[in-house]
C-alpha cells in the first residue's frame, strides 16, 4: 500500500510540475473561473438593479387610444408619472417591434358605462413574453387598479356605506423566507450551476493532457514499462487534476467573497462566510472526483486528444439538467434527492447559500452516495488503464 502511495505521489508531483511549466494552460485552469464568474454575476446584478430602479422611477410614456373618453383617468395616471402620448399609427406593429412596451385602449363606451355605474373597460396592451415590458405593464396595471379602488371607495361613501363591507376577508402575508433566502434568489439559479460546472470539469485541462495527451505524445508506453502499478499511476493523475480543480474552486469562492465586499447592496448577497465556503468545498469535492474519474476514463478510451476534448461539450451540459428541471418543475426537498448527482449538489449548495441547516443524515446520505459513484468511476478508469489496448493503440 505504501508503495502504491509513493508511486501515486510521484505521479502527482510530476503532473503538477508539468502543468506548472505550461503557464497559459495553468492560467486557464486556475484563474479563468475566479476572474470571470464574479464579474459575470456582479455585472448581471448591477444591470438588473439598474433596470428595476429606472423602470420604477422614470416617467413612463404610454400611448393611449381614446384618451379623450376618460380625461380623469389620464390625469390620475399623470400624477403617478405615467404620461399619456398619442398612439402610433400601427400600435400592434409598434409593440411587436418593441418601440412601445405597453399601451392603453379606452373604448368609446367608457364614459357611458362610468356614468351608469357599470364596470368601465380599460384594455392594457402588451406582449407578455417581452421581459422588458413586464415592469412598465405592472406599474400601469397597479396605477389603474388604484384609481378604480379609490373611485369605488368614494362611491360607497357617497351612498353612506362603509367601504369595509367590501372586504369581508383581509388577507395578510407573513413571509417566512429568511433574509438570506430572499437575497439569494438570483444566486439560487446561477451560482450552484457555475460551481458544479467548475468542479465537474475543473480538472479537465490536466487530465486530458495527462491521459490522451500522454498517449498521443508516445510517453505512455515507457511509463507503463516501469514497475509502477497502473492503478497508482492513474490515481496519481486523478489526484493531481483534483488538486488543480480544488484550488480553482477555492479561488472562485474567495473571488466572490472579495468582490461582494466591494459591491453594492445586492452584491452583498454573494458574501458567504468562510464556514460556508468550507462546506461548499466539501459538497463539491465528490463532484470533482466524479468528473475527473469520468473524464479520465473517456480520455483514455479516446483515440486522440481531439476526440477526448470533444467530450467536454456534452459534459458541460450535464450539470444544467437539474437546474432546468428545477426551473420548470420545482420540487420539494426529499432525502432521495441527495443521492442523485448534480441534483444533490444543487440542493446542498442552495441550502448553504440560504444559510439553512443541513441535517447530519443528509450529509451522510450525500457523501456515501457521491463518493460511491466517484469510486465506481475511479475503478472504471483504473480498469481502462489495465487494458492492453490502452498502451498499444495510437
Amino acid at each position: 500500500m505504501s508503495r502504491n502511495l509513493r508511486w501515486m505521489w510521484c505521479v502527482v508531483r510530476k503532473e503538477l510540475l508539468d502543468i506548472g511549466r505550461d503557464r497559459r494552460t495553468l492560467f486557464m485552469a486556475l484563474l479563468l473561473g475566479p476572474l470571470i464568474y464574479p464579474v459575470l454575476m456582479l455585472g448581471m446584478n448591477f444591470m438588473t438593479e439598474k433596470r428595476m430602479k429606472t423602470e420604477q422611477d422614470r416617467v413612463l410614456e404610454i400611448p393611449v387610444l381614446g384618451a379623450e373618453h376618460a380625461p380623469n383617468l389620464v390625469a390620475h395616471l399623470a400624477t403617478l408619472g405615467i404620461r399619456a402620448v398619442d398612439p402610433p399609427a400601427d400600435l400592434d406593429a409598434a409593440i411587436a417591434a418593441q418601440t412601445v412596451d405597453v399601451a392603453i385602449e379606452i373604448p368609446a363606451s367608457f364614459a357611458a358605462d362610468w356614468h351608469a355605474g357599470r364596470p368601465a373597460t380599460v384594455e392594457l396592451i402588451s406582449d407578455s413574453t417581452q421581459r422588458n415590458a413586464e415592469t412598465p405593464a405592472r406599474r400601469v396595471r397597479a396605477a389603474i387598479a388604484a384609481y378604480g379602488q379609490q373611485v369605488g371607495t368614494l362611491r360607497l361613501l357617497a351612498r353612506g356605506i362603509d367601504p369595509a363591507v367590501m372586504q369581508p376577508v383581509a388577507v395578510g402575508t407573513r413571509d417566512l423566507a429568511t433574509e438570506e433566502a430572499k437575497r439569494g434568489m438570483l444566486l439560487a439559479v446561477l451560482l450552484p450551476y457555475l460551481l458544479i460546472l467548475s468542479s465537474f470539469i475543473g480538472g479537465s485541462y490536466l487530465i486530458i493532457d495527462a491521459t490522451a495527451g500522454e498517449r498521443e505524445r508516445q510517453s505512455l508506453e515507457p511509463l507503463l514499462a516501469t514497475p509502477a502499478a497502473r492503478g497508482a499511476i492513474v490515481s496519481g493523475k486523478i489526484a493531481a487534476a483534483c488538486i488543480i480543480g480544488m484550488t480553482s474552486l477555492l479561488l472562485t469562492l474567495l473571488a466572490f467573497k472579495v468582490s461582494a465586499q466591494m459591491g453594492t447592496n445586492a452584491a452583498r448577497m454573494l458574501d458567504v462566510s468562510f464556514a460556508a465556503i468550507g462546506r461548499m468545498l466539501l459538497v463539491l469535492l465528490p463532484m470533482l472526483l466524479i468528473g475527473t474519474s469520468l473524464l479520465t476514463f473517456l480520455a483514455a478510451t479516446a483515440k486522440s486528444m481531439k476526440e477526448a476534448q470533444s467530450h467536454i461539450v456534452w459534459l458541460m451540459l450535464l450539470p444544467m439538467v437539474p437546474t432546468f428541471v428545477l426551473l420548470v418543475n420545482p420540487i420539494k426537498t426529499e432525502l432521495w434527492q441527495f443521492t442523485v448527482p448534480f441534483l444533490s449538489q444543487n440542493q446542498l449548495l442552495l441550502k448553504i447559500i440560504r444559510a439553512e441547516p443541513i441535517a447530519p443524515t443528509v450529509w451522510v446520505v450525500y457523501l456515501v452516495a457521491s463518493l460511491s459513484l466517484a469510486a465506481a468511476l475511479w475503478l472504471l478508469a483504473v480498469w481502462r488503464y489495465r487494458q492492453e489496448r490502452l498502451a498499444v493503440a495510437g
Binding site: K14, A225, E388
Partner: protein
C-alpha cells in the same frame, strides 16, 4: 537472461485476425547482445512488448532472470530497462527531470538517482542538454534522454526497440559504443532492427524474424555458413525468403 518460449500473439482488426507473432522462441544470454532482425511488420515490436510485459502472450512463456512474466510482471519490469518503440519524453520537463521521474517510479532514493544520472549522462555524452527542457530536442537528444531514463535503475537486462532509428552517423556510432559497454558490464542486451549491417556489426547472436516466426538463429558466421552465402545480406534474404522490407 531473457527466455522467450513459443510466443504467440494475434490481434483482431476490422478485416479479421492478424497473427502478429506465431511461435517465437529464443534465449538471450547475459553478457551478449542479441539482435532481433526482420523486415518491417515481422513482429519484432510485438515480441519485445511481450518481453517487457506490456502485452500478454496468447500462449507461450517469457522468463526474465528466472521470473515468469505472467506470474509477476512487476518484478520482471524491475529488472528490465526498456526503450520502447514509442519513446516520447515529457517536453516541459528537463532531461534530468525526465530521468528523475522514472528513477522515483523505480523506487530509487534521491542520491541514487543523482549518481546514476551523472554516470549515464557521462556515458551518453549529454551533460550539456541535461538541464534543458526537452522541447526542441533533436531526435538523437531525445533518444539519449529516453535511454538514460530507461536505464536509471541500473537494470541487468536491457531491451531496445530500434534504438538507432532516425539517428545520424555519429550518434549511431556513439550508440554502438554504448551498447558494447552495456554488454561488457555483463548485461543481457536485446535490440531490434530492420537494418542488417547494424545487426551484423553489433550482435553476438542474431535472431531473424519474418512473418511472426523465427526463421534463423545463430552467430553471423553460423548464419553465413548455414545459408551458404559469404554475404550476410544474401543470407538474410534467403532466410526470410524475399527481399521485402530490406530497403525500408
Amino acid at each position: 537472461m531473457i527466455t522467450a518460449q513459443q510466443l504467440h500473439k494475434a490481434f483482431k482488426t476490422k478485416t479479421g485476425t492478424v497473427q502478429a507473432v506465431d511461435g517465437v522462441d529464443f534465449t538471450a544470454e547475459d553478457g551478449r547482445i542479441t539482435g532481433l532482425l526482420g523486415p518491417n511488420g515481422a513482429g519484432k515490436t510485438t515480441t519485445l512488448r511481450m518481453l517487457y510485459t506490456l502485452m500478454r502472450p496468447d500462449s507461450g512463456r517469457v522468463v526474465v532472470d528466472g521470473i515468469d512474466a505472467a506470474q509477476d510482471p512487476a518484478a520482471v519490469r524491475r529488472v528490465l530497462g526498456v526503450l520502447p518503440d514509442a519513446r516520447g519524453v515529457y517536453k516541459r520537463l528537463t532531461a534530468r527531470e525526465n530521468i528523475r521521474y522514472f528513477g522515483e517510479l523505480h523506487g530509487l532514493t534521491r542520491a541514487e538517482i543523482n549518481e546514476r544520472t551523472r554516470v549515464l549522462s557521462g556515458q551518453l555524452d549529454m551533460d550539456e542538454i541535461l538541464d534543458r527542457q526537452t522541447e526542441g530536442f533533436s531526435q538523437g537528444q531525445r533518444t539519449k534522454t529516453a535511454i538514460a531514463r530507461a536505464l536509471v535503475h541500473d537494470p541487468r537486462n536491457v531491451i531496445l526497440d530500434e534504438p538507432t532509428n532516425g539517428l545520424d552517423v555519429m550518434t549511431t556510432r556513439a550508440m554502438r559504443e554504448f551498447l558494447f559497454k552495456l554488454r561488457d558490464d555483463g548485461r543481457c542486451v536485446i535490440f531490434s532492427s530492420h537494418i542488417m549491417q547494424e545487426v551484423a556489426a553489433l550482435c553476438d547472436r542474431i535472431v531473424i524474424i519474418a512473418k511472426g516466426r523465427v526463421v534463423a538463429d545463430g552467430t553471423a558466421d553460423e548464419l553465413r555458413e548455414r545459408f551458404g552465402n559469404q554475404n550476410l545480406e544474401d543470407a538474410f534474404v534467403r532466410a526470410i525468403g524475399s527481399e521485402e522490407g530490406l530497403l525500408a
